[in-house]
Structures are given as C-alpha cells and as structure tokens.
Symmetry: D4
Subunit: 251 residues, 8 copies
Amino acid sequence: MNQSELLKILESVKSGDLAPVEAIDRLKHLPFEDLGFAKVDHHRALRQGFAEVIFGKGKTPQQVAAIVKAMLRKKDSRHNILVTRADAKLFAPVKKLNRTAKFHALSGVITIERSTEITGKGTILVVSAGTSDIPVAEEALLTARMMGNRAEPLYDVGIAGIHRLLDHRGKLVEARVIICVAGMEGALPSVVGGLVAVPVIAVPTSVGYGASFGGVAALLGMLNSCTSNVTVVNIDNGFGAACVASCINRL
Amino acid sequence: MNQSELLKILESVKSGDLAPVEAIDRLKHLPFEDLGFAKVDHHRALRQGFAEVIFGKGKTPQQVAAIVKAMLRKKDSRHNILVTRADAKLFAPVKKLNRTAKFHALSGVITIERSTEITGKGTILVVSAGTSDIPVAEEALLTARMMGNRAEPLYDVGIAGIHRLLDHRGKLVEARVIICVAGMEGALPSVVGGLVAVPVIAVPTSVGYGASFGGVAALLGMLNSCTSNVTVVNIDNGFGAACVASCINRL
Amino acid sequence: MNQSELLKILESVKSGDLAPVEAIDRLKHLPFEDLGFAKVDHHRALRQGFAEVIFGKGKTPQQVAAIVKAMLRKKDSRHNILVTRADAKLFAPVKKLNRTAKFHALSGVITIERSTEITGKGTILVVSAGTSDIPVAEEALLTARMMGNRAEPLYDVGIAGIHRLLDHRGKLVEARVIICVAGMEGALPSVVGGLVAVPVIAVPTSVGYGASFGGVAALLGMLNSCTSNVTVVNIDNGFGAACVASCINRL
Amino acid sequence: MNQSELLKILESVKSGDLAPVEAIDRLKHLPFEDLGFAKVDHHRALRQGFAEVIFGKGKTPQQVAAIVKAMLRKKDSRHNILVTRADAKLFAPVKKLNRTAKFHALSGVITIERSTEITGKGTILVVSAGTSDIPVAEEALLTARMMGNRAEPLYDVGIAGIHRLLDHRGKLVEARVIICVAGMEGALPSVVGGLVAVPVIAVPTSVGYGASFGGVAALLGMLNSCTSNVTVVNIDNGFGAACVASCINRL
Amino acid sequence: MNQSELLKILESVKSGDLAPVEAIDRLKHLPFEDLGFAKVDHHRALRQGFAEVIFGKGKTPQQVAAIVKAMLRKKDSRHNILVTRADAKLFAPVKKLNRTAKFHALSGVITIERSTEITGKGTILVVSAGTSDIPVAEEALLTARMMGNRAEPLYDVGIAGIHRLLDHRGKLVEARVIICVAGMEGALPSVVGGLVAVPVIAVPTSVGYGASFGGVAALLGMLNSCTSNVTVVNIDNGFGAACVASCINRL
Amino acid sequence: MNQSELLKILESVKSGDLAPVEAIDRLKHLPFEDLGFAKVDHHRALRQGFAEVIFGKGKTPQQVAAIVKAMLRKKDSRHNILVTRADAKLFAPVKKLNRTAKFHALSGVITIERSTEITGKGTILVVSAGTSDIPVAEEALLTARMMGNRAEPLYDVGIAGIHRLLDHRGKLVEARVIICVAGMEGALPSVVGGLVAVPVIAVPTSVGYGASFGGVAALLGMLNSCTSNVTVVNIDNGFGAACVASCINRL
Amino acid sequence: MNQSELLKILESVKSGDLAPVEAIDRLKHLPFEDLGFAKVDHHRALRQGFAEVIFGKGKTPQQVAAIVKAMLRKKDSRHNILVTRADAKLFAPVKKLNRTAKFHALSGVITIERSTEITGKGTILVVSAGTSDIPVAEEALLTARMMGNRAEPLYDVGIAGIHRLLDHRGKLVEARVIICVAGMEGALPSVVGGLVAVPVIAVPTSVGYGASFGGVAALLGMLNSCTSNVTVVNIDNGFGAACVASCINRL
Amino acid sequence: MNQSELLKILESVKSGDLAPVEAIDRLKHLPFEDLGFAKVDHHRALRQGFAEVIFGKGKTPQQVAAIVKAMLRKKDSRHNILVTRADAKLFAPVKKLNRTAKFHALSGVITIERSTEITGKGTILVVSAGTSDIPVAEEALLTARMMGNRAEPLYDVGIAGIHRLLDHRGKLVEARVIICVAGMEGALPSVVGGLVAVPVIAVPTSVGYGASFGGVAALLGMLNSCTSNVTVVNIDNGFGAACVASCINRL
C-alpha cells in the first residue's frame, strides 16, 4: 500500500462511504511498513552522515562501479562515499566515474570526498600497537574522517616499550573517543583505557602467528580487559570501530 | 495508541476536522504495532496449539505456579500446559493448582492435559540410541503429544547393533516425521534418514564423557550427516525438536 | 543372490528336494539385502524425485561427465539432474552431452531439466540476509526447483534493517516451508521463525570474517535460536536444506 | 616521594646546597608517578563518579566489610558504593556498617547511595531479551544509576516476537546510549542497533544450554553483528557495559 | 518372525499351497533380521567373552541391581559380570545378589567373577604414567582380566624420569598388547611404542589442570604420536582400551 | 663405544691391568646405547618388515631420491620401499633410480616392491564410506600390502545406504583386522564394529566442509564410538592405521 | 642389577671364569639404568635442591602423611619439603609428624623448612596483576624460597593503572629472574618484559569469567607476547614457574 | 624535554627566578619519560646485544632494505643484524647493501655479522625432534649465535627412538640452556627436561597434519609437561626462544 491507497481509504471515511470502525479494520491489515517506514530509514542514514558504504571484498569491479554510479547520480547528496576492503582492480572503474576518487593502498580503502564538514564534536584518536596493525588502523582513520570527524593517528606505541605510549599521554587525554587497534596479545586497550576517562573501542587484528589463531588471542585479551571503559568489535573491523566512535562523537 | 485513539482520528476525518492528507501524517508516526499486532501474535499461538510453554530450569516453584495459575485462569482455553526441565519441587505447587497435572520424572516434564484432540496428520516417531538418551527423547515425546500429535517411542536402537534398528523398519517407514535422539557419536540419524523418505529431526544429547564434550561430538556428527533429509536442533533440545516436528505434522 | 537364485531354493522345497528346515538354514546365510533391498532404495530415490545428485567439488570434468552420461542413458527416466559446487570447467563437457544443460554461475550449480512437474504441495521460500549469502541461497533455490517444488527467493532482508523483512510479511506467511540463509550472526531465522507458523530450515553461511570463524558464529546462533520452529543444517549446505524442505513439502 | 620531599630538593637548589646538575640526577631516579601521578589517577576516579567498586565474588564477608568500612571512613566523599556479584552473606556485615545499604537479590548487587546527583547527559536504556537475562541487565541498570545516570529498563523484548520490541521504538529512539543484554543467539543488539542512531553496548549472557557454550554463541553473534553501531563486552559483564555507557553519557 | 513362522511358509511351499514366486514376495517383506540375526549378535557376545557390561554412571542402584539380577538368572552362563563407573552405593545391592561380587574402589569397578578361564593368547600390559592415572589404568586392567586375559600392571613410569620406564623394558617386550594410560602431555605411548613391536592402545586421561583441558592435551598428543604402532581411544576410556586389547589378544 | 672398545676394557680386566671396581666406573660412563642398542632398533625395523618409510610432503625431489638411493644401496635388503604423500614431481627421480617403482596417483603413494612375501596371518580389510575417502583408504591399502599383508578394499559403503554395507557382511566377517576410513560424521566404524568381533582401526578423513572442521567431526565421532572394538588414529592417517593393523596381523 | 652384581661379572672376567666376549653379551642385556643411572637421577634431585614435592590435590590426608613421613625418615637429608594444592585437612596429619610444618592458607601450600641456605644467586621477583592472582603468586613465592632462593613479592600492579607498576621499576630492575602472574587478559608480562633485560616467566591464572575461559585468554595473551624475553607455563602453575626460575637462578 | 631543558628550570630555581613551588608545577606536567627514559630503553637494547631485529614476513623488499640501510648507517655500531621469516626476494636488495650478508634458506633467516664476540657464558643447545622441525630450530640457532652465544644443534632425536636422544646425553648435560623444538605430540621437552637440571625452552612447531591443528597439539603437550624445568613460547617461535635463552645465558 502506498500513500495514494491510504488516501483513498481516508477520503472514503471523509465522504462517509466508510465508517471509522471499518477503516480501523482495514488499517490493521495494512503492510504497516508502507506507512512511511522507508523514510524513517532514510532519516537514520542522514543522521549517520552516510548514504551507503560498500564492502568491496567479494564484489567485482563492475558491481562496485555500478553501486558507486548510483550513489553519484543523486546530485544533491553531499555524502562522502567509502569502499572498504578494495584493491587496485576495484579502484580502476571508480576512478573513471569520479576524478576525485582516491585509493588508499595501505588500508585498501577508496574514498570519494564530497563534503569536508566536521559534524563530530571532538577528536577521534586511532592508536595502534605495531606497524602490522596499521592497515586496520588506517581503515578506521579514513572511515572516521569520511563520517565527518576530526581523526588523528598515533601508531606504533605497543606495550613492549611502554614509554612510547606514555610519551603521548597528551594526545590520549585530549581525545573524545579512542580507537585502539592491536594484534598479538591485544593488551594495548587496557593500558590506554587506564590512562583516560573516555570510551575506548578496541579492535583486535589478525596480525600474528601460531597461538594468535588469526586474532583470537587479541580478541579474548580485549574482552577480558581489566579496564572498565573498553568495548570490543570484531577482528580487523576498523570500519565498525569508526562507525561506533562516530556515533559517540556526535552525541 | 489503542483503538479508541485511532477511532478519534478517523472520526475527525469523517467530521471534516482533519484533512485526509493530514491524517496520513499522523498515522505514519503511530506505533504501528498497536494496530492489532498483538492479535496476530495470538493467532500464531493458536495455530501452534499452545498458549505457552514454561522453561522450568532456573525458575522458583512460586514463579512456575504463578504462570500456570494465569494460564488456568483463561477458562475458555483448552490448550494443554507444559513445563519442561522441571523437578519434584516445581511440581508440588502445580499439583495443588490442578489435580490432573502429572510429573514425568524421567524427562522432568510437567503436563496438564486439557485437550486430547489430535491435530497432527500422521505419527511422529521418536527414536533414541541408548538408554541414557531417553530423558531427552521423552521430553520430545511428551511435547509432541501435548501439541496434538500421535507420537510413538522407539528406544535403544543404537547403531552398534544395527539389527535392533532394522528390526523396526516397519515403524520407521510408517512415521510422517521422525525425531532422532542420540549422544556419543550421534550417527543414528544418518542411518535412520537413509531408511526413510520423511524429514528426520536430529537431537544431539550431552550423554557421553571425554571427547564427547557435552554433546559437541554428536552435534557435529549430525550436522555432517551424509543423509540429505536430516536437520538438527540444539544439544538436549527435545522440546524444540518436537515443536518443529509438530509444525511439519500439521502441514 | 538374486530372485532367480531364491526361486531355485523355493522350487527345490516345492519339489521336495530340499526339506523346509534345510531351506531355513540356507536362507539365514543369504545376503539379505538381495531380497529386493536394492529396489527399496530405488523407490526411495523415486519418492525423492531424483535419480542422483553429483557433488562436483573435487571431481574432474571427466568424472562428472561420465556420471552425467550414465544418468542420461536411462532414456525412460525423467528425473532432473543436478551438479552442485561446479564451475565453468566442469560445465564444458556436460554441455556437450546435453544441449539443455545450464550453468548457474552465481551458485555454481549445473542443471539438466527433464521434468517440470510440480510434486511439492506448497511454496518453498528461500530467504537470505545479505547479498553475500546469495550463492548458498541460490543453491537451495535451484535444488528445490529441480526436486519439483515451487520455490521463490526473498533476498537481502537482513535484520539490521528489520523493516525490509517486515515489508514482505505477506510472502513469509504464504510459504509452506521456509529456508533461511544467513552468515555473520545468523539471527535472521529467529526473526523469520517468530513471524510464521511453518518450519524454518536455517542455513548458516561461511560469509564473514574474524570471529565469524567460517560460519561457526552463524551456526551457533541458529542452534540457539529462541524461536521453536527452527532447525539447522551444515554451514553453506543450501543443497541439504532444499532436500529437507522438499521432503516436508511432499508430506 | 610526596610534594614536600620534592619541595625540599628544589629549596636545596634555591639555597645553593644542591647544584642543578645534581638535582637532575635525583629527579631522574624519583618514582615519577609521585610527581602528581597519583592525583591524576584520583582525578580519573572522580571523573568516573566512583571511589571504588568491589567485585564481591571470591571475597569473604569480612574482606568486603573491611573495604566498605574504609570507603565510608572518608567522610567528605559523596561517592556511591557498589558491590557486584554479592549475596546475602556478603550483605549482612555491610548492612551493619550502613543502614542505607540495599541488597538487590536479582542481580546480586549491594548499593550504598550517598549521592543522587545526575551527571550523565541523557538516558541509558537497558534492553534485555529474555527473563533469564534480567540478572545481568539489572547489574548494568544499577551500576549506571550509581554512576550518576538516568537509566531505564526495557526487558523481555526478544526477537522471537519482534513486535514486542517494535512496540517500544519510542523508548529506543529517546535513549542516548543503549545497553543490550541477550543470551542464546545474541541477536537482539543487531535488531536494536538497526532501529537507532546511538551507540549500542552489547552484553552476551551465559544463559542457554548445549551449543550456547556458556555464552559463546551470543558473544560471537554480537561480534559479528551486521549493524555498525554495536560494540561488545565480556559475557555477563553488565557492570562493564554500564561503565562504558556512563563514560559515553558524560561526553 | 521367528523360525516357526518361516517354517510355515516353507511348508506351504512344499505342500503346494504357496507358489514359490509368492513365497519370494512374502520373504522380501520379512523383518530380515529375524532370519537368525539375533543369533549372530548372540554369537558376537559369546566370542567377546561377555554377556553384558553395565555402565554404572547415571544409573540408580535399583537399575544396576535389576540388570545384574537378570544376568545372574541365566544359570548356565559362566560369563563374568562387570559394572564400570560404580561407587559404594551401586555396590550395596549387587553384593546382596551375589556374595562373590567385589568392589574395586580405586577404579570404581564392580566384578562378579564366574569364570577364570584364560582365553587371550598372551599378556596385556597396562602401563600408566602417573599415580593419578591409576584409576583409569585399573579399569583397563580389571576389564582385561574379566574378559579372560592375563593382564599385568606397570605403573608410575612417566617420561619425566625416562629411566623408570627403561628399567622395565623386559616387561614391555614380553607383552602381546600394551595399553598405555597417560594424562597431562600424554607422551608415554610414543616412547613405549618406540620400544616394542606390538600394538599400543593409548588412553588419554582427564588428569591435569589448566591447559590440559580435561584430557584434550593428552588426547591430541596421542593422536599425533610419532610412533606408528599407536592407536587411541576416548579420554578416560580404560574399559574400551581393554575391549580392543582383548579383541587383539584373541586373534 | 663399539664392541671392540668394550672388549678392550674387559680384556684389561682379564689381564689384571684394570681392577674390576675401576672397570665399573668406566662402564658407568659409557653411552649405554652403544651396548647393542642400535641393533635392537634394527631388529625392531626388521620385525615390522620395513627398512624405512619416507613422508614425502615437504621434501624436495632431490631429498626423496637421495633417501631412496641410500635404501636401494643395501643390496641384500629385500624390504619394500614406500613414499607417502608424494606427487608426480617426487616420483620422476625415483623412477630413474628403480624401474619397478610405481606411482599410485589416487593416494599419492610411491612403491618399490622388492618382496612379495606375506607375513601377516590374515586379511586386512580396508572399508571406506564415500568416494572422497578413497585416497586415504588407498594409502592404507598400499601400506598394508607393502608391509606383507593380504589387504582388500571395500569402498563406498557409507551408512546413508546401510544395505550397501550389509551386502558385504561376508567380507567383513572374514577379515582379521579392519581399517575403516570415513569423513563427515565418521559413523561407519561404529556400524562395522557392531557387525564383527575383530579390532577396527578407524581413520577420520578431512573430507567434508563447514562443521566438519577438516575432519574434527569425524574424529570426535570415532572417539565416541558406541562400539567397543574401535580405536582411532589421526585424521587422514591411512599409513598409521595400516602400520597398527600390520602389527596386529603379525601377532 | 646393582654394583655388587656388576662387580661379580667383572671378577669372573678377571679370574678367567668368564671370557670377555661372553661378558659383553651379559652386559648388553643388563638393565642399563642400573649402571649408576639412579644415581644420576639422585644427583639431579640434589642439584635442584629438593628431595620431592607432593602435589596434594586428589590425595588423601593419609597418603600425603605417608609420603611426608618417608621423607622425614631420611635423617641426614636437609631438603625442604613442599606440599602444593593442599588444604587444612591435608595439613592436620602433617602437623603431627613435624611441629615446624606450616600451612599457608592463601596458596594452599604446606612447607617444612629444614634448610635456610640460599643457593640461588640473585632475587626472584614474583609480580602479580590483581588480588585474585595472589594464591598462584604465593605458590610461586613459597616454592622459590623453599628451593633456596631469595624471593620477593610485588602484587597488585595490574596494567589498568600502569603507574602502580612503574612506581616499582626499581624492584623490577634489581631482580635476576621475574615470575609474572596474571589472569584476565594476561598482559602484565609483556609490559614487565619491556622494562627489564632478564627472563620473565609468565603464569596465566584461571581468574576471570566469561570469555576468560578458565585462563585461556591469559594463556594466549602471554604466548603472543610482543616482548621477546617472556616464556610461559601452564595455567595456575605457580609451582612450575618457580622451578624454572630456580633453575635459572642457580646458573 | 631533555636534560638541558630540565637544567634550565633548575637554574631558574637556583637564581631565584622560579619559586620552588612553581617548579613543582612545571615538573608535574613534564612528559616524564624524557627524564632519561629513552636512554634506559637504549641500554636495554645494548644489554640484549642487538640494535634491532626485522620480522621479514609481510614486508616488501624495499621496506626491509630501508630498515637495514638505516641500521648500517650507524657506523660505530657493531651489532649484528638479523632478518627473520625472509626469502630470496627479501635478500636480494640486502645483499647489495652489504656484501657479508648471508641468506640461510632452510630457516629463512638473513644475517649480517658485524661482531663475533661471545657474551653468553655457556652453550645453548638447540634440540629438535624431526627433520621437519629443523627450519624453526635453525631460526633459533642463528638467532642465538647472532646474539653472542655459543650455540650447537642436536637434531632428529625424537622420542619414537628414545636411544637416539640418550646417545647424546653428554651434549645435553653440558649445555647451560636448552631450546627444544618439536611438532606433532611435542613430547621431546619433557624427556629432555628429565635428563638435565638446566632450563629448557620448548618451541612447538606447526609441523604435522590433522589433529595437530597447526601446532596446537604440540603446544598443549609442552604446557602440560610433567617435567618442572620446561617453559614454552609460541608456535614456530624459534626467534623468541633464542631471545629468552640468550637472556638466561648472560646471567
């Protein structure tokens, strides 16, 4: 049922052709979602500052290009466009569609920046333990920026040399939300969480070998954090961490 | 919003106080579930032949009695009442509420039979491998019966002595749905499934020790069944298996 | 021993050459399956509407072609032929054997349709959560159709946007059996199961990364479903789900 | 070293008794945290609105009472006191120490409320799936309140009956942070997250049996949530979820 | 169908009342196991030297007593009777049934020895690593003896002090089959297997703590044995190891 | 120290040059294995009927060829030579060394048969469930034969069509040892074990997908077998199963 | 064979009663360990500073007392005696045997100190994260002391408040070996290891709940430590850590 | 802040330009690590005998070359340079930078030896079980040597032929630290540990198949070692084992 159908019912009520109690019966059996539900969803998208994100992995260059094309077609939209888990092959046709598209090789992220408006209230700091964690950290950093946040990196401050982290306590204290990316034993969020009073989103990475079990060791470490301001997202989910951080930073 | 509120809107439309297009806007923002949704749910309950089932484990005798009392109060309802994972302590106050309540010690099930109508079309056969699997099998059997099915047991036909099972091929072939309960290696459903053309609901049990890992071995065995008419429910979930079987048997 | 051999024994009994008690001894040591057992198996195949299905993965194009050739040779058979987990290489020689053979690239299924007879009583609805789940969903859809069922898809109705699913409540309610395919947290079957009164066959997919552990998260989610009309098959087993659904749909 | 000691060194420098280069040596070997570090820590405690929380499990009534006594001794402190994972035995001596102490049997939480000041900016909504999840939900609710937040419960809105949740969309939309507690398949946070634009802290519970593996199924489900505003804490960690929510609610 | 029924059919054939082709039809539908199948099973029991073994765990004293009573009733049987995983409570009523019944507290085994005939050809040596493994080792030892084997213990020869084992190389070399019981790292079978040329049945035990995971470490160690004459049974399954060893020792 | 050195010491004792107590001291510090230990090992090899087996996987063609060459150099040895987990590349140089070398592509085994003597007392039957299990079954079959056993295959008798297995009960009953190879749910050994009285060596295979977890489901199924004459070796370890079976068959 | 027997053989050689070549034969078949092997073992015990340690768990008071009695009987021995995993019941009879016996309730350790000699070269520092880790830490501390080491505790310096640890950098730097005990995420050893240049023995504890999985999270964290001077022992194995530390401290 | 800045503050105090209480304030806010902390870190590097190690895996040849170049630039440094997990591609540009660079193909290690000074006090013995464990063993051996230790290999002494190990008891006894590398059941460290009194660092390898689970079986075996002088590092972590051994060998 669309609006015109609903209008018909209501006009029948107005005209007296349909008694109000009978109208109730009809309305009860309507597929209720058609009562504007899609709009609500649209509003949600608007509030989050994004039209849509494309998870590139497993999609063909043609598929990605088609989706990006559809997004670009809505001329009045100023939403940034983000393709995650992409590579050079996926980037080629996107670049043709839009000259400003950029491919960030380290994180496998494609960005089309159409708005530089900052809607987040504070800074999101993305902290990472080792150099191998940087791809995930960069995915988080770029996502946070594309979603309208000031976002800064603080990399290679693993706990094996604790002073490297302590040297930057200033940066930690100034952040409004912290994303903390770490593989191996995944202990960095606990230390970081202990130094600040803001929420810390922990991202375990699949970096490591042997008993790291593809990030499980880091994941379990973070879930068992002895610091009470730490929450956790899935292994390698830099994008998700940035979404949550962005949610929080708009509050 | 309840019906009277909705009526008010419609009557305003009828009286001309509210234009149809304005009414649409108001209706859009209604909590739509109030448009009779609860009834739909009620219908689902009716279709499944049950008012409510009580999962007894973790509830106090007082809590169980209170819920049963509420159920019995709906005088015109003829639904059977079922309490699973119960024990003698939970049964005591229920017995006081209703003289016909029975406690089935083997399976820990309490039944209050208020209707003996058979609504299932065929027979549900509950097959079990070993004597230790019987509690789960009985939970399935009683649930199936309380839900209006003819249900028959076929116990202790494990595959270590395959002839015990083959001896009863007649029973297997006559069933419309088969529930197959097995612990340890959980291989019975594969053999049973190979002998019949009807759906087989496999229930792994936590019976076993060591590498049975509380039913995991049986669960994995069933999920990997080489027979294509087998589906699986959770470990020890005799109740769930009977619900599905009952759904199927009403088709 | 075939029937002619058995006949010989019985005729010796008739003629008096073999005493009845001696005949018992001989019969005891017969490989009993030869007493028509193979036929029973053949009947089972017939009832399920299939001569044979070929699991293509791990087979060479030559092997698959040889099996298909043998199937096609039985001229009077009108069974549809299905090769699952296939690819373009496996398809090439099959295409040469039979012009009507089709390769469904999305699901990796090869079909040779020789009968369009509908033997299932109702519609099997194949619901999937995300676009990445579609290959498994398509395997289920094509299998269901090849087995003589009306089968319809309802894709991309994941629970993150619950209204997408609720929009199609009509389709859900009309189905006789529902196959529900989902990866990641695998929660779709629980929501779907709560909206209908028919059996829901849940298929976890290996879609996801990190803590999805190749489909384990979805599998566990489905086994723990809080909805009582849900059963589960192995990860990515769209074929198996369709077999069970087909079994049920013929009841 | 406290400030007075540091002052002494500096005054020796001022008086000329200690050469600046010698002072450097002394300062290098100072336990540097004494340079105000403890204060920082104290500030952190203040900002989080808590003197200390006592994890009751594994402690004797004497130990708990001793810690509470020490807390109560700081007369000028107005911090609320919270003992989690407690029972009646732990409560007895605490009650003697402070008449206003309350024991919340459902969640095993002891509270001593000394301040009712609301420091959180919005409402924290605690949503739970089943009645068995309520103990964990209550731990979260009480913790959030003791930490100076408006916190409201929304219980028993599991996804098997999706309308129960949709009925309360108003409450969901009004919350500033949502804590979502669920056992079994743990799918509630995904559905809730899809309906709102604020952060959702998911708490898996150990409720369930068989393949729930003490909360692992729910945990994995939540980590794999298809909704991007969901983060996760440890199994049964209602307290931790409330701490994070409280952090966020003060931003 | 028993023999007399079969005889009837065959006599009808003989008398001409039943045509041989008709007889074939009837025979086809016989539950074929009745063609002496039960006897085969009985023979198997006889060949293995046991009427039946009772797995005591989870059975009531009444149930165990009833089964033992039924076994003792077959006056002409001389089979030994074995109850495993028993305790003093299960033993009490068994003792009343038979004065010669013995309870072996260390292993939780009840034995009623009715035959001392040795049917195994050689000696079964039961080797165990630590003193905590002795209960499982004793279950194996008693089972082996009750099944008609010469069986000898060789305990406390763990590999941490390899000379303890090497001191008894004579015993190892003389055995015809070796059962090797070990918890913790479960490495004993590999060392023992390297010293002999006979089959070694490895039994992991649940002895240990932490990362022994209830015997999983030992189980995996044994499955990965670098010695090629080692096979494995379930954790703590001393009984099963002795059954296999007994099978081998009768060859 | 070799025998000549030991002889020197003893002759010094004899000649009086070395006092017995001094000789004791010298002997204590001897590497005791030189007292014939290597021979014992050599004897063990002889008793097992093999000079050495080469695990081909991970070795270069050059390495494999070098080892085979060394084996062939011992002209008086008549031991068969076996290379497992090999491929065509490994075979090429071996073929050049010995014209009689054969490569068995299905199982990846290279054999050089230098003796056809049968030293095993009975027949080893290698039973497999599905066609995909045949590579592992063939590894077992060839190993058993190369070790001097009569060994026969019985393939494709999985339990989904139980009659296929029962048809060959004769073969099962005649075997002295049975190797039973199965993937997926791994239930075949339980059924086979129930039909015979000889030891059954179960080999789980990594055949399957999803919840088969690379053979874990089959492994657990076999370890939990309800049949007491079943033991288990590592996943895909056809070689190991044949070694144990060969050990048993020589008893 | 003891020395006197060996002497006999050698004297027979000397006297000419036994030819040297015959003596070789006899010596070959000696249980070679009797050639002083037991002594070597004895020496090992001496070097490690311990007669024997008793693992109390699972032993009866009588058993423990009997072993202690046997140890005390060797009057000339000055070794300290240690019973781990003990309780008050095990202690009672030990106390009667020796007045100086002490029971350390926190760690469940019984000590009988007969020597206070310090044989370790430096200090073993036992660092622990939380108060709940103290039982395991104390087991390590007492074991280290009983084995002749200076051993000092440094407790409650978890990484959530990193300054607590940094405050004691002096103690860390002065230690010769560090034992680091931590539950939950087990990250303390990484931080400690980064601050020192000596070996760190990490002990995961079973402290925690939910996804700590009885110490698995801590164990994995430690195995994946990003600090290269960390090794790991089993969960809760304070005793083992102290043994290794003691080994190192004697070097 | 460096020393000169600190000096300035102190001189201002001395000159009276800065009051002591004001100086305290300034000092409190200093990044305290600058008080010589970096030096400590530098010292740690010096004490460990290494400027830096490069973990080659996942780095490009360019990246590795750039890091090596930076290391070589510090002309006065005589530290050896080590690249682990490297291959021929990574080696090519390194070779161009330094003629003395060597690539060890077996272990994938690149070494640039600039110092042959021995700083370790005793010998580190690297023992390995099978030939497949040699790559990991070699990584340990080369690392130990590059860190200034005498290090010797003892390979292919697995426990299946225990005499191979016992033959080399002399070497074992002479070592100051032992690194013990083993895959499959990982039992070698337990046997080795029982023969010596020095610390044994156990390295599980991912060698094996099936239930070895990529080294998990070996890892668990080692963690559960019944020998008390064994500690464990991560799977395949030969480098880490050598670091710890080197730490110990310098004590």
